[in-house]
Amino acid sequence: MADVISAPFHAGTTPVERRNYLTEPKGLWSWLATVDHKRIGIMYLISVMAFFLVGGIFALLIRLSLFDPSHMIFGHKMLDAETYNKVFTMHGVIMVFLFIIPSIPAALGNFVLPMMLGAKDVAFPRLNLASFYIYWTGAALAMVAIVTGGVDTGWTFYTPYSTSTQTSVAWMAMGIFIAGFSSIFTGLNFIATIHKLRAPGMGWFDMPLFCWGMYATALMQVLATPVLAITLLLMTIERLFRIGIFDASLGGDPVLFQHFFWFYSHPAVYIMIVPGMAIVSEIIPVFSRKTIFGYRMIAFSSIGIALIGFLVWGHHMFVAGQSQTAVVVFSFLTFIVAIPSAIKVWNWLATMYHGSISLETPMLYAISFILLFAIGGLTGVFLGALSLDVHLTDTYFVVAHFHYVMMGGTVVAFLGGLHYWWPKITGRMYNERLGQIAAALVFIGFNATFFPQFIMGGQGMPRRYYNYLPQFQPMHAFSTVGSWIIGAGLFLTLGYLLASLRKPYDAPDNPWGGKTMEWQTQSPPLTENFEVQPVATHGPYDFFPVGTH
């Protein structure tokens, strides 16, 4: 190790000759048994992308089948009703638990978080590797569930249906139970890393905002996921033993399941969106060439979301039978939790104001995020309003809201982050023009797919239904065409990203002019990340004012 650190390194030499984490040590085993956070991040990245592809194919199938209420496409029956139930369930389960939750923290966060802090690795490297294999164990059980007949409960596993249906609920629940521990260990690792492995001179308020976002996410991962674990365990035991906790016919209470489930799953949607916000907080100042506006407000709003996010779960159950007092309190808290999100949006806009904005692919995704998240977040406030929610519960309005936040928010931010750090991760530049085209396709396709769903939901189209009234057919068809545009954008992205890997290293160390520490080392980085221990001497967004350099 010492000889690597002292290896000669000159900023001007050809990048090809550089030693880096990708090429040494060599061999498949050196990857599978690695404790290097960067390699684990890459293994996670490949895994989550694979599940994104699987979940995405399920999504395209759902949309194609819904093109017409008869589910006949060119004279062929697409999905029968039972298959349809399974397909949307597996779309949801795979996307939520195997793609979005690990996507930003475990894949990108694993790679960049230690480097942003100027650290050599995460706090517990072996736990990090264990977490990757736990993830795959859970994923393998989920695959078993799919192969043995699938699951048709919806991703929420509501009782009593989940404890009585004959599909592979137990396998799927155990898969998610196990994958949850991988999420817990990632969060635990990140909290310890942020507390103890910041570079000399880097105080809490000198950290990049991505680290604050990861910290808030990790808090929720650690504190909420165990509750999901016990909930799924109880649900599975109820299935197998009929213990009478959730089954009303045995004396139990299905609403108790909903409380348990949403006590995890509402924080879980923040586990998914806060990392997206964290990425956007990095991209916006770099591509506006301007110091972030309201650093502390953005940092505290992440923590605020994490804390208040634990107290709003009841808004999923306004029509499920809660006391009037509880309903009013949950509605109020739901409005409150919108405030920190709004603070972030305004601060990003203030950062861009009078900035020197350049519209490369990461910035296009960041701006997409702001637009889509604004719609997704505000429609969440609609759903938090008591009287309106009674009308909109279990309609496509909820589906559209959820996708505007999860896909328009998190996935778009993930794509932005992937492009932003691609040169650092792989040492190659992707094709910028194709990147911009793909970002535009994703943005247009996304709105085409999901905006009609708001309208349909407002008119009463129920979610998850196999059949629908003929009056909704044009909007369903529009939505389906939109899903093809998203698909085109994403496959284009896959194509040019993979194509870039065939090139020799051509990425500069700091292609975007970022000020955070991961840009201060070579691309791709050394196994030890930095030649020497970096020291924080200035803030993460100290750009020169426009026109002075």
Binding site: M1, A2, I5, S6, G118, A119, K120, D121, A123, F124, P125, L127, I184, G187, L188, I191, A192, H195, K196, L197, A199, P200, V222, L223, A224, T225, P226, V227, A229, I230, T231, L234, I237, E238, L240, F241, R242, I243, G244, I245, L250, G251, G252, D253, L256, F260, K515, T516, M517, Q520, E531, V532, Q533, P534, V535, A536, T537, H538, G539, P540
Partner: protein, 228 residues
């Protein structure tokens, strides 16, 4: 953000002088930093344990409030003496665990080994007593859920009490078993002489875990055995 100013990393310095501490992982600068990090890690892990058991406790409280008579009738079948004995055994094991950490910190290898051995012995007694209790309950047909068969159940919902009894003590028992395994690993390292005042993090961390497992039992015992 970084200005390249610190000349060398800690690990580099150690390697260069041939005095690299095998207990200091390369990504930490000092032992104190490594120790503190481990402590943060274990406390967070304990928090997850509390939240996981918390789900069971909430479920227990909710179902008990629905069926107080069933829970009262159910608890009469439990062996109070065995439960009390196990409480004492675990309290003793907590004490010897504290001593183990103390002796690890003061480099007293022999006493550390003795204390770890006593703690493990207590854990084994606990599991043995639990085995006797389970056998007793099974012999009376007191199984969880649908397998429950007690013709004398006056309430019709005793099976819920026994479902929770077996889930909570079962999950707790798994934690005792896990503790036994990591203590066996500690014992092996202690005999090898790995621990001293310079390095005793694993003993400290396992100690904290063991106390949590004990505390959970301290709550389980009155909740399950001493219902009034």
């Amino acid at each position: 953000m970084s200005s390249i100013s610190t000349p060398v990393t800690e690990a580099h310095e150690d390697a260069a002088h041939g005095q690299h501490d095998p207990n200091l992982q390369h990504h930490f600068a000092t032992k104190e930093q490594q120790f503190d990090t481990s402590k943060i890690g274990i406390w967070l892990f304990l928090a997850t344990e509390i939240l996981m058991f918390g789900g069971l406790f909430v479920g227990f409280a909710y179902m008990q409030s629905r069926f107080p008579e069933a829970f009262f009738e159910g608890h009469k079948h439990l062996l109070k003496v065995a439960g009390t004995l196990n409480t004492v055994v675990l309290l003793v094991s907590s004490f010897t665990m504290v001593l183990a950490v103390h002796y690890a910190r003061t480099s007293k290898r022999k006493k550390l080994i003795i204390c770890l051995a006593i703690t493990m012995f207590c854990a084994l007694i606990f599991l043995g007593v639990k085995y006797i209790e389970y056998t007793h309950e099974f012999s009376e047909g007191l199984y969880p859920g649908r397998y429950f068969s007690n013709p004398d159940d006056p309430t019709g919902h005793e099976f819920i009490f026994f479902s929770f009894y077996f889930m909570m003590t079962g999950l707790h028992g798994i934690h005792i078993l896990a503790g036994l395994c990591v203590m066996a690993w500690l014992l092996r390292r202690a005999i090898r002489g790995d621990f001293s005042r310079n390095y005793y993090t694993p003993v400290d961390v396992v100690g904290l875990y063991w106390h949590l497992v004990d505390i959970i039992w301290i709550y389980l015992f009155p909740l399950l055995y001493l219902i009034r």
